[in-house]
Amino acid sequence: MRDLTTPPRSRLERVLRSGRFAVTAELDAPDSADPNDVYQNALVLAEVCDAINATDGAGANCHMSSMGCCALLTRAGYEAVLQMGCRDRNRIAIQGDLLGAAAMGVRNVLCLTGDDVSAGDQPEAKRVFDLDSIQLLQVARMMRDRGVLLSGRKLRTPPQFFLGAVENPFAPPFDWRPLRLEKKVKAGAEFIQTQYCFDVPRLQQFMRRVRDLGLHERVYILVGVGPIRSYKAAEFMRDRVPGVWIPDAVMQRMAKTPKLQQAEEGKRICIEIIQQVREIEGVAGIHVMAYRQEEAVAEVIQRAGLLPRRPRSHGDRINQVIQTTRTDSVRCVLSS
């Protein structure tokens, strides 16, 4: 059972506890050193979601770090979810980064293993994988609850995290996935964001098992969705992005659509999936992912009838920050 006696650690947790259907969205980390590139993407997403995920080298491709994005987002008052992968860091770096993130005001951490280096743009890199995602969850939970590092050394101020994990109900071994979710919950996961869902029957099967285990009452499950831009993009995702499963029915639907209307069809499929997912007992929200299509994400959420949202605490602060970052970001924000 969830412990509801403690105050919520983040705004995302508050939304989930209130029982509202939550929406999170994924921010594409830019290939740029300009903070405005982050803010431009965030501005679109912020209006339509409760929290913004900053990816950690998505698909093992090099982009601005999750830490960097989260620093910018929290500075502007956005609710950020730090994605922390095990591919690039050993346990020393991970714990250090968690402390740094907490100090910057990050309250949500998503613990994941990460795509292998071979999937990305620099396959010749060394893979680290010192911890796995479940060990990472446990380490983060112990830092929070017992106030110690893995070595046992005490922290003066422990980080306050709302801990998340990922799950992929669409990859084998299917009958183990719910039990693995249970393992993650035991290790400390409080919310779950799943891989892209294009196969609702399989998700229903997974959720049935999750309900049998009583996990839907111990963890908030946000189902991953996203609009497909075109048939070619769907083919790419199915064949090249690890862990994405697109059933033939969806592929055929995209293939039958004329090229110019494929983007629209992709959005329509996404909205239909959102509506079906909402009906499943135990689903607490959705997590919208779409590479380089923030506008489409906003449109999908709006058309699915999930607005309005309030992702920021202080109203116009973001505009002020965006203007000031052009000149001298750190000094202006600190003095404001």
Binding site: D130, Q135, V148, G152
Partner: protein
Amino acid sequence: MVTHMKEARRMPGAEWLKNHPRWLERAYLFSKRIIMKAYPVMKRIHPRFANWLMVRSEEVLKGWVFNCQMCGQCILHSTGMTCPMNCPKNLRNGPCGGVRPNGHCEVIPEMPCVWVQAWERSRTMLIFADDIKVIQPPVNRTLQNESAWVTMIEGRDVQTPKGWGWDA
């Protein structure tokens, strides 16, 4: 097997053994009993030779059957007699989300996912079937290339970092 990665190496006969893990379970319990008694005696006679013998025999035997990577903290009986260090991501607690629809590895497409095999094999085990649900602590990388039997007898393989504190 066409790959450069040592994880995909498979020896003749080894797959059959691993697909019948009940034999391996018994072999594990049997050899545990013998080694627990024999190793302290051997150590008293010649400590360096005893250790060398353990390491070499593990390299050869477990290397042949399990493609052992000599992590020095063996959990084979709780992972369906399938070595988790053969997973290119070194996962100790279950599969990643990248398992292909045909049940093969994300990193080495021609290799079946270690954890898909581990799950299927663990289902046919009699004694340690449910040990696969136990949360495994982080790997102690200082035990690399040591004998897992020796670290087990000395109790070093189950020592976890102080901050790990499982449900303490």
